[in-house]
Symmetry: C2
DNA sequence: GGACAACTCTACAACGTTGGAAAGTTGAGC
DNA sequence: GCTCAACTTTCCAACGTTGTAGAGTTGTCC
């Protein structure tokens, strides 16, 4: 059995509660008493039992991060950022993969694990506004991603529309006139795809150009292979285009590969920009221009907000939009050097 | 406050212990009693308090996975596989990133979090044999990766040497004669780099070829940018070669980009094979031949072994080597179709 | 030197669960 | 109808920690 406070207390010649007080930085302890207790803790190698602490205090020091899929580079990088942000506050992160499935997200949100964590960061994918009532769980929660729900929940989002607008304007400013919106989800308004499409349209409007539905390319699932398949379809259809605003990086990379195989030069024949700024975009050939959604800011803000909510209930719901950044690289002929 | 067993017990008209017995599948319960209890659990939405259970039973249902870095695709995919394997046994996984730093690995291994988990899967990177005593922790542990320690610990490893041998033989059988060992760590014997180099040499030997030290390319850190930088160095040096056995996929991809920029055709001028079979290798241009180290098998075996060790102490240390698989793709001119 | 505040430490009772063992019930076998 | 085993439920204590309340100790100020 491991060392408990009782043994530390005996060794230091104090009560158990005093040991607890030392550990929890209770201010009224004589320096030499504190000293003695710390020495015993050190010597015995005492480590607090977090289950007991959790039971007694109601706090476990664990938060949950619900994401669709860790194999997706965007979410792996998000998870990394969240874990680093959480570590700064002494929190551990349990990652739950939802696969973006509605059923699975509900299962996680209402499963027994929620009782084990102090709060949840939930990157919504499977649920929609019609499920708003279902996400009303007792555990403190901060939503990541888009503002899908109107409920009284904290949101930390990226500027999807503004980002996509900047990406599109970037291509237009380079003289491209037939730019694909690559990765649309028909009829979606409020998700990433809908918001990014809105930004794309806004950029066209700002230049007095009209929106051509033929240039909107549907890519249902934003994986590399789907991007490749969709671009193959576009090439087969004979559609004329000279620019691509891909709604995320991996479908951009899938498309890039197909374009290159087909002999289209990037950026000469087709200028291509992605969204997410995943690490890989810095090392492809050509390097991929993209929109950095402000991942670090998202992670730090979300953890901070969650902690505030855990520590004091009754905070009115807040919203934070992280600052995005256009990252020009070779795929739009605008690499930094 | 959340629902507790007490309230379920009152609702069902039984004692708390009977509720506990129902939940834990104690066999001697009358069917109608069980029925009533389950109904009350359902109606009240009872969920067990895992802290309390953990305190009482000593088990938390959480295991820890220590890996260097989640942004590294290999480890992201490993984490995914481990989480799925763990979920099958009702376990949650806490991921701890060590950055491959010795200090940080020790900190994690001896930190208070270890008290919160039932066991650890530890992907060793920073520690070495000289630290063998330091990994003797009370928490059940299974080591992943290479057999770095000789201590009494379970190991689940990949066949580094055999895999690298097969990769090298693959290039040799295609007629390549000057094949780089790309990613060596000088003087290392027992780590991945050392073992893979041994496989490379074994393949040469098997064909009666002698080992040329000039063809061993040092890449200290196995990241994409380091692979790119190292390949730039090779090209600058004017070294003559027609094949590359890269010791992992991302340095292979970094090198591939540099080779393409320099106008070398793959596989015509240089045949290239990696190691790890990360998802991305299926979508690059050209697709990358690689060695699948048997990730699923590693994850499932590791979780199973850990669980066995958690459930019954005193098991003699075991070792398991997962089966590897050569995955021929376009970068060696051997794509399946 | 008395009152009061500020400090320092401790006893006790929880938190919600499960292990152990006892108490109570049923039914089969003779 | 009695015995004994098998079944069913309950009682009690404990897991290791912290909140509450209070006891004891100083020290300051009039």
């Amino acid at each position: 059995m491991a060392i408990t406070m009782r043994e530390v207390a005996v060794a230091a010649g104090v009560s158990i509660k005093t040991v607890s007080n030392v550990i929890n930085n209770y201010p009224y302890i004589r320096p030499d008493t504190r000293e003695r207790v710390l020495k015993s803790i050190e010597e015995l190698g005492y480590q607090p039992n977090l289950s007991a602490r959790g039971l007694r205090s109601g706090r476990t020091g664990v938060i949950s991060l619900i994401i669709p899929d860790l194999k997706n580079a965007y979410f792996a990088e998000l998870a990394d950022a969240v874990m680093r942000a959480a570590a700064k506050h002494g929190l551990v992160v349990i990652i739950e993969q939802s696969g973006g499935k509605r059923e699975r997200e509900l299962e996680i949100l209402h499963g027994p694990r929620m009782r084990m964590v102090d709060g949840v960061l939930y990157s919504v994918l499977g649920l929609g506004q019609e499920d708003a009532a279902l996400i009303e769980i007792p555990t403190p929660m901060v939503l990541l991603g888009e503002r899908i729900f109107n409920g009284p929940t904290d949101h930390v989002t990226m500027r999807n529309t503004e980002g996509a607008e900047a990406a599109t304007e970037h291509l237009l400013s380079l003289g491209r006139s037939r730019v694909l919106a690559f990765g649309t989800h028909p009829n979606e308004v409020i998700g990433s795809a809908g918001l990014r499409l809105a930004g794309y349209r806004r950029a066209l409007e700002a230049r007095g150009l009209s929106y051509d539905e033929a240039l909107a390319v549907n890519v249902q699932s934003w994986h590399r292979a789907d991007g490749a398949a969709a671009m193959r379809g576009v090439l087969d259809s004979g559609l004329d285009f000279d620019g691509v605003v891909a709604f995320n990086d991996v479908i951009a990379l899938g498309a890039m590969r197909v374009l290159q195989e087909a002999g289209r030069r990037i950026p000469e024949d087709v200028a291509l920009i992605g969204f997410d700024d995943i690490d890989e975009t810095r090392y492809t050939l050509p390097t991929l221009s993209t929109i950095d959604p402000g991942r670090e800011e998202i992670a730090e803000t979300a953890v901070r907000m969650l902690l505030e909510r855990i520590e004091s209930g009754g905070i009115p719901p807040r919203e934070h939009e992280a600052q995005f950044r256009l990252v020009p690289r070779e795929s739009t002929g605008t690499a930094a050097h």
